[in-house]
């Protein structure tokens, strides 16, 4: 062992470059992994602690006040798995709010501070002391801070039946433990007890009011005994009293855990996939390094054998060398991840809106590092098998066999461009030595294209079904269902190319599971179909692929929808995808909703043709349909914009980090390969110099070689991306509801990564070839 270690140290001293290169690769890989693992753990911990603080560790549901009877509540008390429950009142505001003169849709719920909430200071740190909310003050959910219109000191006016007569001043932001994550449509705000009680007693509208400006909702938190199955309990409660069915929506703890960590988990999956890719690249690089080392040190290794070293001992030298580099790299990677975990954690906090501690999950990082090292050691032992073929006799006689280059592709070297043809000859002469480099580029380019496709493909229209609209008409006190057709007719008189759609929603039970069902009728589809078509008739339903998988149905099958006491059958006509409700949604027509007894009015969305006068159409509608419809010009949905901005920022951060890591990896891989290539070709470089080739020309040829390799790799990566991006991203994005991610390939998506890698390879190879300049021709000449 001693002699093995001695030789190992000598190798490391002599070939520091390769040793450092492997350390750097391992460090980058482990750093990426450590950041991911730590953030995942930190996020999970934050979510669980938040759920415990909110008492939402069992079942949670929301119902209109009055919808839950005493008998229903008694079923809670009677259930053996229910250990307790509490109710919280909320005020739901249906009209747009006035925020410093701007119309905004958020916040939509008001509640009291029951002491369970935590508050952020101006630096996004938690305030330790107890916070008292005074009259006229309001605290908004942290996710709303992203919207620049909501800032400390802003005035929010809420509309009641008397007009905008309730006014609050924003004092700060708080942590909403259940609905704080940006994908939740709910935006809860905290006001003082006195303000809440006053509005509740004086300003509440009944559900039967023509326009219920402020209604009361109840939040129910149900605790379950340890080990109880929340889904089973919900079914039992429904069977006994129908309490869950009577709610507007209900969730179990696992739904919150899953949904609140949706984006973070997606980001984690992307990074984990990336780290796997980096591991493959590390293995390719190590394999290439070992192959080159064995080839170039053939004589030395043969002499070792001649001196009694066995092939296993020689292989151990390599293994010990690389294991040492891997260990050092892992330690450095873990250390580097400490500050970066906080950086990424800060970005994720903007998504989850939960205060997250930035701890390093050291145990998991160490285990992951050990697993990676074990995989590397396995590959190293495979790569060193070639040591067994070394012949001591051949080594003593002066080295390896003569090399005949069979694969020259018969490409004659031409004068113009001379450098290109010489470069091509260099590549084709030793093609096996360069396969690894091209493969590395192909993997990096493939991944970069996937990330670009992901970033480009996540736009609001695609995932949030945001059809463009110019005018929104909401129903007023005198509305009747026949007014819908009258409105359509009237609008077309004003603008024959106008597009009108009607929207509503309900929550239905399908196979004992509650699902959100969009009610929609319009000329343009709300969700583009992935397969089949949207529903046209009252007995048709359109579902997401994920919902269809859950209920085990396909296009053409029928499903039973339960709504209140009604039950109707619908035929599945097609599949769509959406990120709403984590991709588990359905859509029926307005007539389809009427079959279920949903007769409530619908909102009308109107899109006018190019150049139409929106103001005059709006005014005309308000005049013609006074008391029936209230038309207003459409404003961007700030919560969705807010959501998209935050998701965009996160995606851009992750993509930028990935691109940087790709370039760093390219630099290290090129450096390692160049070092070996330079050593192998020292003599040839000297010969070229002696024939009159200048150093800069030879460096240019050297760099051109790697640029050509990068181009070949980029081409392979691009072709792979064309075929594999869609299934890969669909599998990745399934978790957020996008079961069929359709990348929109544009030329830049291929050109940019290819150009970045080719340029990087060229530059890094040029830098690495600086030794050519210092190479004296004289050194190569033997007497």
């Amino acid at each position: 062992m001693r002699s093995i270690l001695k030789i190992m140290w000598a190798n490391i001293r002599y070939k520091k470059g390769a040793f450092k290169g492997v350390i750097a690769l391992m460090a980058v890989m482990i750093m990426s992994l450590a950041i991911t693992l730590s953030n995942t753990d930190n996020n999970k911990r934050a979510i669980n602690q938040a759920l415990e603080r909110a008492d939402a560790t069992g079942i949670f549901f929301v119902a209109k006040s009055g919808d839950i009877t005493d008998e229903m509540l008694a079923s809670l008390d009677n259930n053996k798995d229910v250990t307790g429950w509490r109710k919280e009142k909320r005020l739901s505001m249906t009209e747009m709010k006035d925020v410093d003169g701007k119309r905004k849709d958020a916040p939509d719920m008001l509640c009291k501070n029951d002491g369970r909430y935590r508050f952020f200071d101006e630096n996004d740190k938690l305030i330790d002391e107890k916070v008292t909310i005074n009259e006229g003050e309001i605290y908004l959910a942290y996710k709303m801070k992203k919207d620049g219109d909501f800032k400390v000191g802003s005035t929010i006016k809420v509309c009641t039946e008397n007009g905008y007569d309730e006014s609050f001043t924003v004092k700060g932001f708080y942590e909403d433990p259940l609905f704080g994550q940006i994908l939740w449509g709910l935006n809860n705000a905290l006001i003082s007890d006195s303000d809440f009680d006053r509005i509740y007693s004086e300003k509440l509208d009944s559900d039967e009011a023509a326009i219920p400006y402020i209604v009361s909702n109840d939040y129910y938190y149900i605790d379950l005994r340890d080990g109880a199955d929340a889904k089973e309990v919900m079914n039992d409660l429904n069977a006994e009293s129908g309490i869950i069915n009577a709610s507007q929506f209900s969730y179990e703890k696992s739904t919150f855990e899953k949904f609140n960590s949706l984006i973070v988990d997606t980001g984690t999956k992307v990074v984990t996939l990336f780290v796997t890719l980096l591991l493959v690249i590390v293995l390719i690089t190590i394999n290439d390094n070992i192959a080159s080392s064995v080839e170039m040190d053939y004589a030395s290794l043969g002499i070792l054998k001649a001196n009694g070293f066995t092939k296993w001992q020689i292989r151990m030298i390599f293994i010990c060398q690389y294991v040492l580099a891997l260990i050092i790299g892992a330690v450095i990677g873990i250390i580097l991840s400490i500050p970066l975990t906080g950086l990424l954690g800060g970005q994720f906090m903007k998504i989850t809106a939960l205060f997250t501690e930035n701890k390093l999950s050291l145990g998991k990082c160490v285990i992951a590092s050990v697993i990676i090292m074990a995989i590397c050691v396995f590959f190293i032992s495979l790569a060193t098998r070639r040591v067994g073929r070394i012949s001591p006799v051949r080594a003593i006689c002066g080295g390896k066999e003569e090399v005949h280059f069979d694969s020259r592709l018969n490409l004659r070297i031409r004068k113009n461009p001379l450098d290109f043809f010489v470069t091509l000859r260099q590549i084709t002469s030793r093609i096996t030595a360069y396969i690894g480099s091209s493969l590395i580029v192909s993997l990096l380019v493939f991944f970069m294209i996937c990330v670009m496709a992901l970033t480009d493909g996540l736009d609001a229209k695609t995932i949030f079904a945001q059809n463009e609209k110019d005018i929104i008409a909401v129903v007023d006190s005198d509305f009747e269902l026949s007014d819908m057709e009258a409105l359509s007719y009237f609008v077309r008189e004003k603008d024959e190319d106008a597009k009108i759609s009607f929207k509503d929603w309900l929550t239905c039970n399908i196979k004992d599971e509650q699902y959100y069902v969009q009610v929609y009728d319009g000329e343009e589809s709300l969700f583009p179909p992935l397969d089949g078509r949207p529903p046209q008739y009252d007995n048709e339903i359109y579902v997401t692929e994920l919902l269809a998988d859950e209920i085990g149905k396909k296009i053409g099958d029928s499903v039973l929808l339960h709504y209140n006491d009604n039950e109707e059958e619908y035929i599945i006509t097609g599949f769509f995808q959406t990120v709403y409700e984590a991709g588990r949604e359905a859509q029926i027509t307005i007539d389809g909703a009427r079959r279920l007894g949903k007769d409530s009015p619908c909102e009308a969305d109107i899109r006018l043709s190019e150049g139409a006068d929106k103001e005059s159409v709006k005014a005309a509608i308000n005049e013609k349909f006074d008391g029936v419809y209230q038309a207003s010009l459409s404003e961007p949905d700030s919560s969705i914009e807010n959501m998209m901005d935050t998701v965009d920022t996160l995606l851009i951060s992750i993509s930028t980090a990935i691109y940087v890591v790709c370039i760093v990896f390219a630099a290290i891989a090129v450096h390692l390969v160049c070092a070996k290539t330079f050593q192998r070709e020292r003599k040839d470089i000297g010969i070229y110099k002696s024939q009159g080739f200048t150093s800069s020309r030879l460096r240019g040829q050297f760099a051109l070689r790697f640029a050509v390799l990068a181009l070949i790799g980029a081409a392979i990566g691009s072709v792979s991306a064309v075929f594999l991006t869609r299934p890969l991203l669909s599998a990745l994005m399934r978790i957020v509801g996008l079961s069929n991610f359709l990348p929109d390939f544009g030329p830049m998506m291929f050109l940019l990564p290819a150009a970045a890698m080719t340029f990087s390879f060229f530059v890094f190879a040029y830098i690495a070839s600086s030794r050519i300049k210092g190479l004296e021709v004289r050194e190569l000449i033997t007497e």
Partner: protein, 268 residues
Amino acid sequence: MIEYSHDKPNERMTIMKEAIISAKGLCKSFAHNGGQIHILSGVDLDIYKGDFTVIMGASGSGKSTTLYALSGMDRATAGEVIFKGEDLVKMSEKKLAQLRHGEFGFIFQQMHLISNLTLFENVTVPGYLNKKRSAAETDEYANELLDKMGLSKIKSHLPSQCSGGEQQRCAIARAVVNEPELLFADEPTGALNRRNTTEVLDLLTELNKNGQSILMVTHDARAAVRASRIIYIEDGAVMGELELSPYTPEEEKSRESQVNAWLSSMEW
């Protein structure tokens, strides 16, 4: 300029000869273990156009160092090497590179052909650096040279598929493809067997007969007899010179005796 006789080989006559390279006070030292090792100590030397000059000396005498200092392949520590009015010792790398493909040719002991280029390409690639000649002209000339070297049939072979003699002949073709002013040869026959040695020497003699100036380093007296001028170097300094008449195969034995006698007088 020296005096030399055409008709009477052993008599001097005044004929003006042009010096291609003039070295003055050439010194070359290497650092070693904190001290300096002096290989050359003030060498003064002229190399003349049309001459077949040979530098001889014992191993470690500095003959190869002299060759590389004169050719610019190695920079002298002190002194000057003037070629066409410019000092090679002070010349930039870029200009030296231009000299290497434009004015000088090199033949090495170990051939040093590029292993992944064919014999034909080993000759043409340096030729393509010459901007004055088109690719077609270079190819044509390369074919001519390879034909002259007896390598036409194997010109598409790789160096590893050829014998030592074939490789060295290819190296000669490579060295002269750009019609250099001066051809430098460092022990060109050192790695060859007797038959190949004769072939290579014949080629060099022929080239010189056709006007090619040659500066060769050798320790082989049989190679030295081909020269028109032999310079003896010992301990980094020129100890003596021998002028010879132009070589003919019939005079080989007498020349060999003459050279050996002279070398003995130099205490070779």
